[in-house]
């Protein structure tokens, strides 16, 4: 049995210890916002926050998150500044990669509240968007950065320590 914090709630799951967090979320906890893209840590579709930092859930055995805190797209609530910027900027095309992109950005802004283009590109270079929404992503990150309440950024920072 593995117990961890998921979107602020404690959850316990009884699955084989090597089951990747991705499939625990999708198949056992019915949280389908976290996506399967490659299963090999190459595309970022499965990005979640682990203790506030972006990580790939497809290659992370669930036992390794025992006692840690996981945030998925469902945990952002829907009106997070990054999500708002995404909706207003029509960033999503097919949308399949976007939950991973958004969590990547939340993680980035937690560490660097005002990233420049180069910092955004570095932080998101592991998140493939096959629809090629890259330019809209960069634009929306700047919009979101300008709107993040300073406390929120601080809070995410604290979580990473």
């Amino acid at each position: 049995m593995t117990t961890f914090q998921l979107n602020g709630q404690s959850v316990s799951v009884e699955v084989a210890a090597d089951t990747p967090l991705l499939w625990v979320l999708r198949d056992h906890l019915q949280l389908t916002g976290t996506k399967f893209g490659c299963g090999a840590g190459l595309c970022g579709a499965c990005t979640v926050l682990i203790d506030g930092q972006a990580g790939r859930s497809c290659t992370l055995p669930v036992v390794e998150i025992e006692g840690r805190s996981v945030t998925t797209i469902e945990g952002l609530g829907g009106d997070h500044p990054v999500q708002q910027a995404w909706v207003e900027g029509s960033v999503a095309q097919c949308g399949y990669c976007q939950t991973g992109q958004i969590l990547g950005v939340v993680s980035l802004l937690g560490q660097n509240p005002h990233p420049d283009d180069a910092a955004i590109k570095t932080a998101l270079s592991g998140n493939i968007c096959r629809c090629g929404a890259y330019q809209d992503i960069i634009r929306a990150v700047h919009v979101a950065a300008g709107r993040m309440p300073p406390q929120a950024a601080e809070h995410d920072k604290e979580e990473t320590v």
Partner: protein
């Protein structure tokens, strides 16, 4: 524009190939998703008494934006904010068919949907107005609408559309209706956030992969690595005992392993030891395919696609002749969402949830593989995590249905891994092109010959097309074989792989020919289809001709486009916005212009080069797709096409080894990442023409414009994709 409903029915019937688009309510199967007590003026629209406006969106939303775009069109004429419309993804019904049945492809959704959707919205509005007028006892011209509200000009009284549902249901549907004057459009042509943006930014969007049903089990399929391979033997008894495994058995595509969850199914697949019969393609590799394609250049009797003037005489009298061979490789679609489908078979009926570009074809294919009647198969459409042509093939749905048929009453979701997806695609065909051009004594381009050698897309698709298009009383096995024969009949010609080769330039002698060379690798539509390679060849070679004529590539093109105003306009706009000829030091530019699916796109690409490395710094695109229904989506689609086209132009492609695809995941079949994306600028030509598509036309000019920029930078003419400098 004033239309009576009766007149419209006749007109629309012609467009739909005999079907009355969106209006076929009486005398056919009920439209899926109808609410009791709602006002339903046509298959697309319903208005409920509690004032919900529901739009059955009958095209695949795969990122290209039809969810927003088609809703915008129908809502505009209904006169309600598109953001207030509840969109439902439609199932299969004849009332939803456009030119190619319900196939979403060819960048045709908005182009083909434009009239029927406007008409459907306008008719619904006219009925609501008529209903209000009779309730208030006033003339119809005393009633007006604004954003979902009907008002009485005499009294100022107002009613919501939902308040009129009862009255509107009782109206004679044969009313006259008037389309809006485009000058009065409130939503069409304006920038607005996509109405699917919230779903897609919160994890609430349901893709095929996300379908969940009580008791759902997951299946994975082990397919032979070699195309056409077969299972010889496998450790079935061991596999069936593995943790979580419910059943494991052979199906038409390989070995299906059904388990409680994906991870258990995948683990079991990893422990399945199969001996494969390699089948007929054993030993085939990319080198051999390349040789066969090159041989096609010598084939004695190609199919002639275009034959204008007399190229032979023109070549004989030419001052200068250029002759070149171009090559393009197999490419995967690599949709972000791997293929998947969910099926539930109960007795003789089947319910399916499929991310497909062709729900009607899905139904036909499922009927073929299960032997169930088409009418007993219900298709629920989901959102698609990318399509790009891949999901016009529905092999995954056939698998899900066949597996579910063996485990009745249990919903089964088939999930492909990325490796499955990469190795069992319907690839953009590899092709080889022989191209020749001639300049006369005055340096004028007087002759042009282009021969396309590739395998046929049409051949592979014909059986599915026949099964979908033929009436249901034709047994699907018979329809399948009719399609197969049709595919063989057209012999040397495949309109899909040779499209785009007919150059727009005013050259008196033009010949385009085609040779089909079949290697057995499954091929299919890939974003912009034939244009993806023909434009690379033709627009690169146009540059070669310009250099041979010692002319500026833009001026040279303009000379031959004087009677092509739309080509010329996008070319001029791209040239102006890019600062053609004035690139900053160290930067080099290349240009290309191409028409694809009735839209026109010109591009200027700017590169920097260091040694044999290069970087794409900036891409300026000018597009004419008629009236831009949603300008922000047009821009996004062109950027999307640039990024997709860049992957194709610079990244490693698919190669074949011993009859199988060598690559397996994004490490060896990489796609462009955010840190590699250039700065992109998209300019849209103002137009009052009816809209044409924009999901694909932005792709073809990218590769040639880049190749031309690399030539400008280095003098190296790269005639093979991907583009690698020596």
């Amino acid at each position: 524009m004033k239309l009576s409903r009766r007149g419209f029915l006749i007109g629309a019937g012609l467009v739909g190939g005999g079907l009355v688009i969106g209006f076929r309510l009486k005398g056919s199967a009920p439209v899926p998703g109808v609410r009791e007590g709602s006002f339903q003026p046509n298959a697309y629209l319903q208005i409920t008494p509690d004032d919900n406006v529901i739009f059955q969106m009958a095209r695949a939303e795969m990122g290209q934006g039809v969810y927003h775009g088609m809703t915008t069109i129908i809502a505009e004429e209904l006169d309600i904010d598109p953001a207030r419309v509840e969109v439902e993804l439609a199932g299969v019904h004849p009332g939803f068919a456009l030119a190619m049945g319900q196939l979403t492809g060819g960048s045709m959704s908005v182009a083909m949907g434009w009239e029927p959707l406007r008409n459907a919205g306008a008719l619904a509005r006219a009925l609501l107005v008529a209903a209000a007028a009779s309730r208030w006892g006033v003339d119809r011209d005393r009633v007006e609408t604004e954003d979902g509200v009907v008002s009485n000009r005499n009294t100022g009284e107002k009613l919501r559309y939902g308040d009129l549902v009862e009255d509107a249901r009782a109206m004679d549907p044969d009313v006259d209706f008037v389309l809006k004057d485009p000058a009065d459009f409130r939503w069409i042509g304006r920038e607005a956030p996509r109405i699917d943006g919230y779903l897609k930014s919160t994890g609430k969007a349901i893709f095929g992969m996300d379908v969940s049903l009580p008791g759902l089990k997951t299946a994975v399929v082990l397919r032979p690595p070699q195309f056409g391979g077969q299972v010889r033997s496998w450790n079935a008894d061991t596999v069936r005992e593995l943790p979580g495994v419910i059943q494991a058995f052979e199906i038409h595509t390989g070995i299906a392993i059904v388990a409680d969850s994906y991870w258990e199914a995948r683990q079991a697949a990893g422990n399945t030891h199969v001996e494969w019969d390699k089948g007929p393609l054993a030993g085939l590799d990319s080198e051999k395919i390349r040789k066969e394609l090159l041989q096609g250049l010598e084939a004695p009797e190609p199919h002639e696609v275009v034959d204008e003037g007399d190229t032979a005489t023109a070549f004989a009298g030419a001052r200068q002749l250029l002759d070149a061979v171009y090559m393009a490789p197999f490419l995967p679609h690599s949709t972000m969402e791997p293929q998947n489908a969910t099926a539930l078979v109960r007795g003789e009926s089947c319910e399916m949830w499929v991310p497909s570009q062709a729900p009607d074809m899905t139904r036909a294919v499922v009927a073929f593989f299960t032997g169930l009647r088409q009418e007993a198969i219900t298709i629920h459409s989901t959102l698609l995590g990318g399509g790009f042509g891949r999901r016009g093939y529905v092999d995954f749905a056939g698998e899900a249905a066949v597996i579910a048929q063996k485990i009745p009453d249990v919903p089964i979701k088939v999930i492909w891994s990325r490796e499955d997806d990469m190795q069992h695609d319907y690839y953009r065909p590899a092709s080889c092109h022989g191209i020749k051009g001639a300049l006369d004594a005055d340096g004028r381009l007087v002759a042009w010959e282009h021969r396309v050698v590739s395998s046929s897309i049409f051949k592979g698709l014909a059986p599915n097309m026949a099964m979908t298009a033929l009436p249901a009383f034709v047994p699907s096995r018979m329809a399948e074989s009719i399609g197969r024969s049709a595919g063989d009949l057209i012999d040397q010609w495949d309109p899909m792989t040779s499209e785009g080769a007919h150059i727009p330039y005013a050259v008196p002698n033009i010949k385009v020919s085609q040779v089909l060379s079949e290697q057995g690798i499954p091929v299919g539509f890939w974003r912009s289809v034939g244009n993806s390679h023909t434009a690379f060849v033709a627009e690169s070679f146009m540059d070669e001709m310009a250099h041979a004529a010692l002319a500026d590539p833009v001026k040279f093109r303009r000379t031959y486009l004087t009677d092509k105003p739309r080509h010329l306009a996008v070319l001029n706009l791209a040239v102006e916005k890019s600062g053609w000829g004035n690139a900053p030091p160290g930067r080099y530019q290349g240009v290309a212009v191409h028409e694809c699916f009735r839209s026109f796109v010109a591009m200027v690409v700017e590169v920097t080069v260091s040694g044999s490395d290069y970087a794409v710094e900036r891409v300026v695109a000018a597009v004419d797709c008629g009236l831009a229904v949603n300008p922000n989506i047009v821009r996004a689609q062109v950027e999307s096409s640039i990024v997709y086209g860049l992957t194709a132009a610079i990244k490693d492609p698919i190669t074949i080894e011993d009859g199988a695809v060598r690559q397996s995941n994004f490490h060896d079949a990489p796609v462009l990442r955010i840190n590699e994306a250039p700065r992109m600028e998209v300019y849209i030509v103002d137009s009052v023409e009816a809209p044409t598509g924009i999901g694909e036309p932005g792709l073809p000019p990218l590769a040639p414009a880049l190749a031309n920029a690399l030539f400008a930078a280095t003098g190296q003419r790269l005639r093979e994709l991907p583009l690698r400098l020596a």
